[in-house]
Every structure is written in structure tokens, then in C-alpha cells.
């Protein structure tokens, strides 16, 4: 049942990802036709700089007027790989209004305005797919929302930012400090000139919001995600981690509360045991570990960024959306029926590794232990090291709420014998 009239695709953006999407649409045209059931045709490419030579793209297709392109009315699918909030948001809603479905790779936009965009898609009975927005090439959103649609996901914990994983892996394997590792990441092109979005966890937080929403069938906004960057992770932290048989990763963690009545989403550096599958994720790779009622423990691993990997995810969505269109149907839309509240960070329960600089005199440990006990935080292990009248105390706790831990740390800071809190790090994946 092959259709000969082609499906028309408008490409918004022709940078690293867009040019790769266009290239594969051309070089793999026959495969795409066979897999979709109709040919797909690149009908227009909206760019900012039309004079730049783009190999393999017919110059007649290039336009600077993205709005006119999505309003043409004959476009079946708009592929948005511009990134950022505007003009992407307006272009996507305009596309729906003019009869097109949309494939996007825009994590920031989906995390911030996913609900409104899904509503616009639903209103016009169009598809909105965005596999490429989280973990690049790794098939993740489709497995979560389709393969696991008959299961109950309880926890999603992932390395979803390749830049920070590259930096942390470098620190771990070479003993380098943060700045040195960042400089190398920048030199190798793994970090951008302004690395803020990556190293401060903004990028991972957007992905956490999307993952939590899909996994728990509820709405999680970017503002709901607790976020801590990894710029303060030190070589000393890695040494402490190694002593515990752990390494340090920047993790996005989405959890259903034990009673099932609420969810949390957070991004922060954490120690994880070397035996955990996420611990061996090296370089700029991404991986997401999923725990569900029936399936148990799953992991999805692969490249989280880059032109070709992201294009792979975009094209997988393009095939699906084109197939839906030929079927006169749409794929699964937003599923937020569970409408679970998002709990604040204080409610998160986990373990903590705390390093304190203390006076080297008798009774300090008793004082410190009393503060933990008063705040209901149970100590698992404690290790004392003294040198030259100074001493350090390393405390690893049992599971406690973030609020209780925060209270404990505030009280510790007020003790005369505590000179400073050198580091606090959560311990996950045990």
C-alpha cells in the first residue's frame, strides 16, 4: 500500500543537527520511503544565515522566513531543531494551527511549556514527538511511554548530560580538579564556551522534568526540579568516594514517593557505588537507569549528544509521525492523568556523605553525634582523622529526609568545635 505523493517536511534550523537530518533524509531516502510507506520530501529549510553553503541542500529550499514556511499549509511535518524558547514555541504552535505535526529536539522548551504544546497538538489532532530532547540518540522516551505503558515506573536515575559526565570521568580517572577537567572538555569541544547550562545542571534539570512527567504520567514543570550543579565537586570528594567504593556522577533522579501519592525530581552530584551500572558510564556517554514494578531494573545507554546521534532520534520520530499521518491517527499524546503533586526537595529521602573540619580534642565526636541524633538522622559510619591539632570527621548517614539533613548541617555549623563543613554529598544507587 505504497503512496506515491510524498509527505512534506519543513526543517527549522540547519546547524549541527539539522544539516545531519537533511543529509540522512537524502542519502537514506529509499529506506525511509519503505519504512514509512510513502516518500518524504524536504519542502523547506528555515535558517538565519541563508548565504552559508549547505552541502546537499537545494538552495531554492532555503528561506529565512520560518513563519511563512510553517504557515504554507502543505507541510505534513515540521522538524524543529532551532532550540531555545522563542521563536521555536510560536513556530510550533503555528505549525499545529496550519495542519502540521511536529518533531522537536528542544528540551528547554518542552520542559518549560510541554503542557501548553501538548494541548495545542491535541486541539489540532496532531503529533508532538521529541525523543531527541532527552539523552540524544538513546531510545528512551518511546520505551518509557510505550514499552512500559503497562508497568508502573517508580524511579528514573540517569546521567543525561554528556559534558558534565566527561568532566567528572576525567576528574575520577586522572585526579584532575574541576577547572582543569573543564578546560580539557572545552578544548575537545565537549563543553561550550559558556558551560553554565551544563555544569550548573540546567540542561539536566530540563531533561529531568520531561522524564518525570512521562514516567509518572503527571505534569512536572522545570521549576519543580531541584537543581545543584557540579562546579564544587573537588578532587578530595573523589578521594572520599573511592574510600567508600564509589564514584561521583551528576544525576537526574525522578522518584515516586513510597506511598505513591507524590513525586520528586532533582539534579545534583552524587556518590554511587562502583558496582552500579551507571558508575561505568564513561566520557560523554549518557545512560538512564529505570526501576519499575514488573520489569525490575532496566538501563538505556548511548551517546547523549552530537549531530548524528540526535539526528537518529529526530528521524525515528519523523518516521513514526509520518506513519501516523498515513494512518490518519496520532500517537500517544501527553499523559498527565495521574496529576500527582511534586514534593519539595526537603521530602526527598536518601543517604549523605558529610566531611567536617573539627577541632582535634576529646568530646567532638560525641557533640557531633548528638546533633545528628537530635535531628533524627541516623549515622551509618563515622571516620576520624587528626593532624596538627586539626581533625576531620567523615560521617555517612542512613536514609534521612533532605530537610532533616539540612537542619543537622545548620546545627553542626553552630558548634564551636566544628570549624567548617567541607562537603556534603548524597549517596545514591545502593
Amino acid at each position: 500500500m505504497m503512496r506515491t505523493r510524498p509527505l512534506k517536511v519543513a526543517l527549522l534550523g540547519c546547524g549541527v543537527v539539522g544539516s545531519e537530518v537533511a543529509r540522512i533524509m537524502t542519502t537514506h531516502a529509499d529506506d525511509l520511503t519503505a519504512r514509512i510507506g510513502a516518500p518524504v520530501e524536504l519542502a523547506g529549510v528555515a535558517v538565519r544565515r541563508p548565504d552559508r553553503v549547505r552541502e546537499g541542500i537545494d538552495q531554492d529550499l532555503v528561506t529565512t522566513d520560518a513563519t511563512a514556511l510553517v504557515k504554507r499549509g502543505d507541510i505534513d511535518v515540521v522538524v524543529e531543531v532551532i532550540g531555545g524558547i522563542e521563536p521555536a514555541r510560536t513556530l510550533i504552535t503555528t505549525a499545529f494551527e496550519h495542519g502540521a505535526s511536529v518533531v522537536s529536539a528542544n528540551k528547554a522548551l518542552l520542559a518549560q511549556d510541554g503542557a501548553a504544546l501538548h494541548a495545542a497538538a491535541g486541539q489540532h489532532d496532531k503529533d508532538l514527538y521529541y525523543e531527541a530532547a532527552v539523552a540524544g540518540a538513546i531510545p528512551l522516551l518511546r520505551p518509557l511511554r510505550e514499552s512500559l505503558a503497562g508497568d508502573k515506573i517508580n524511579r528514573v536515575m540517569g546521567i543525561v548530560n554528556g559534558t558534565t559526565n566527561f568532566i567528572l570521568d576525567k576528574m575520577d580517572s586522572t585526579g584532575a580538579g574541576y577547572q582543569e577537567a573543564l578546560d580539557e572538555a572545552t578544548a575537545l569541544g565537549y563543553a561550550e564556551a559558556d558551560p553554565t547550562a551544563d555544569v550548573e545542571g540546567f540542561d539536566a534539570a530540563a531533561k529531568a522534568a520531561i522524564l518525570a512527567g512521562i514516567s509518572f504520567h503527571t505534569r512536572v514543570r522545570l521549576d519543580d526540579v531541584y537543581r545543584e550543579g557540579m562546579t564544587e565537586v573537588t578532587a578530595a570528594d573523589f578521594a572520599s568516594a573511592r574510600e567508600m567504593g564509589c564514584t561521583i556522577k551528576l544525576l537526574a533522579i525522578c522518584e515516586r514517593a513510597a506511598d505513591g501519592a507524590s513525586v520528586t525530581a532533582r539534579v545534583h552530584p552524587a556518590m554511587i557505588p562502583l558496582s552500579h551500572p551507571l558508575a561505568s558510564v564513561r566520557g560523554a556517554y549518557n545512560a538512564v537507569f529505570v526501576e519499575s514494578d514488573a520489569a525490575g531494573q532496566l538501563m538505556f545507554y548511548g551517546p547523549g549528544a552530537g549531530g548524528s546521534p540526535t539526528a537518529s532520534a529526530v528521524l525515528g520520530d519523523l518516521v513514526a509521525v509520518c506513519r501516523n499521518r498515513l494512518n490518519g491517527a496520532t500517537g500517544p499524546g501527553e499523559s498527565a492523568y495521574a496529576a500527582l503533586p511534586v514534593s519539595p526537595m526537603g521530602d526527598v529521602v536518601t543517604r549523605y556523605h558529610i566531611s567536617l573540619d573539627v577541632a582535634d580534642k576529646p568530646g567532638v565526636l560525641a557533640q557531633v553525634a548528638t546533633v545528628f541524633a537530635e535531628h533524627g538522622v541516623s549515622i551509618d559510619t563515622v571516620r576520624q582523622q587528626g593532624k596538627d591539632g586539626e581533625a576531620s570527621l567523615v560521617v555517612v548517614t542512613h536514609r534521612a529526609s533532605d530537610a532533616a539533613l539540612t537542619g543537622t548541617v545548620e546545627a553542626l555549623r553552630k558548634l564551636d568545635t566544628v570549624r567548617g563543613v567541607a562537603s556534603i554529598m548524597r549517596v545514591e544507587g545502593e
Copy 2:
């Protein structure tokens, strides 16, 4: 757009997997309704022993007449978890004829008769889904045929049998021999009383046929898959592997030839480097490593068997098939348009680790090296160990065809100075 008339599901088989499917359909009914857009109702359960008490299943639904159940005409989806070729095959085709779509977990049947079953589904415009047939709970077939539909998969290499991975992992970690490790697997319920299907690679070969077909959009029959079991892997092989920085896994490997014009599929034990992501897959877990043009290297990891994990995969398919039905559409059917020939094992190119027992006298290495050279097999490293007039030679080759290697080994056996070929093992994942 919630529909209130329920979709009717017939369950064929109510063993470990079927009972878990029924249980989750009941306990998660509200979630399934929300995710599908209509309620699903268990309309009948076909079993062999109707008198066995099945907790949570209405006895009125139980029947021994599976044929009558699939012929009822009001069934929307038939879930087949009987396994084996017949009566499963006839029941599935009968289901299509009577208007139902089918979700199956039956790897043996799909590997043997996938083409005919897909044709029957297509003829009646019905769905045939079988995520649970390969790698249990791991979302794998949907990612391969949907998420990667815009990409070109070149290689799929996986641990797809949990029983053999448990045995090999045990041998690796404890130094146990094959029989001892098998006995423990049997005692713990990881191996069946008759472990032939697992340890001789039949189970993995069925999965390889399915994986190759989906990955390369071509038809690969069970008979096309080269198969070697793992019963002859010894503790000595593991010692050799460790010396090379490797471990041993039973792998299913599906490859596109370098020229793209043919494919191969095979199952055999192989050495893989400890640094390869598959090397750290422990116990009865499964994992599948995928290499594609655009996405690069991906890995999917999780439990490959068991009632709950398999039920998770079955229910994910059930939700998808029900959604398609409400949309009046079907999902992607068999995609075999590429129609690539399957090359014989002799054409497979890889590296080899060969242990020879040889006479401990001058000139043996020269003789052996000449045989390799005459067959066009280039040697990477060779290691000699002598003791008591006996000696062993361990040869690791560069990449060579299986045919060339086979010819080399035949010629080696004819040398006076070669007392025996102690082991031949392929080296993969480098």
C-alpha cells in the same frame, strides 16, 4: 475521548507469565484504562488444567477450549503466552481470522514462522506484537523498529539468554567448571531440568533470527542462524580469556556485511574485552549492544526472563495494540523490504583465540605459523608455554573469515607436531 465499552482480551496460557499478566490487568486496571483511552477486560483465559486455583481470576472466565475462545468474534486482543509451535500457531492465525489482534511472547514460533504470521496479520489488517519474545522486559524490539527507524543498524550483539549468562558469570567469578555452575543454576531455578534449549544456544538462536530480521528489515529464518552452545567452555578458557583482559559470554550477533549486500546471524561463546559494556552484565541479566550509522553505540539492559518482567513487556504491547485498535489503525508490520541474503558462517569475519597442544621441540612455531599464512590468516600474537616435553601454543589472529580459520584448523590437526586443538574461541567487541 474516553470510550466506556471495554476492549476484550483473551489470555491463552496462565502459567508464570500469564498469571502475572492477569494480575496486573486487575491491579493496574485504572492506569491501563487511562493510558489506553478505554477499559480493558479479561474476557477469557484458556488453560490446560482448569481445576488449578488461580488467585484473582474469575473461575467463569477459565476454559480449556482455546480455539472456541479465539473464535468468539468479540475478542479485541489475544495474548498468547503458551509458547511452543502448536497449538500456538493455529490459535494465532485463527485469532486474526476472527478479528482479533495478537500479542505474543513466543520466540520459537516467531523465529520459525514469523513471515507467515505477519502475512496473516497483514491480510486481516491486525497487529502482531511480540516485545516479550526477545530479552524479556527490556524494551528492545520497539526501539529497534521504531526509534531507530530513521537510522541504519549495522550490528546487534547481545546476551539474550539469562541461564547461560548466569552459568558463565559463575564460572568467571568462582573458577567453577561448566557442570558445577550448571548444577547451581538448576538448584536456584535459573536453569530448567532439561537445559538443552538454553545451553546449546537454541533459545538465543531464535532471538537472533528475530533481532536480525527487525534490525536489517529483511527475513532471517531460524535455519539461517549459525549456532554453537556453551557446554564446552572450560575453566581453562576463562583463564585464557583473563590473560587477554577478556571474559567469555554466549553472544547472539547479527551483522550487516561491510558491503551492505548481505547479513549474518550467529550464536556462540566468545571472548569480549572487560572494558566492553556487555562484559559487566552479571547473573541472569540480558543486554543488547547496537551499532548504527547515526546513533552510534547503544545498549539496552535488564532482566531477560521471569514472570513479572515478561508480563511488563506483554502489557506494553497490549496497551499499544489497544490504542491502535481505538485509532482504527495498526502499528508497523513486518518490514522485510530490504530482502538481503543471509550469508553462511564461513563468510563471517572476526578474530580467533586458538589453544594448541604441541610437541615441545624446535621448529613447531614455524610450522604452525606457516599453516596460518598459507590460509591467509594473519597472526596478531602467539604465546608458547612448555612443560615436560609437552607445550602449548596460544595464537590470537587478526580478523579473518570463518572459512579461512576452519581451513587453518583442519590443516593444523594434520601436523605431526600438533597433538590437539584444545580450544577455538572467537574474540568479539574490539
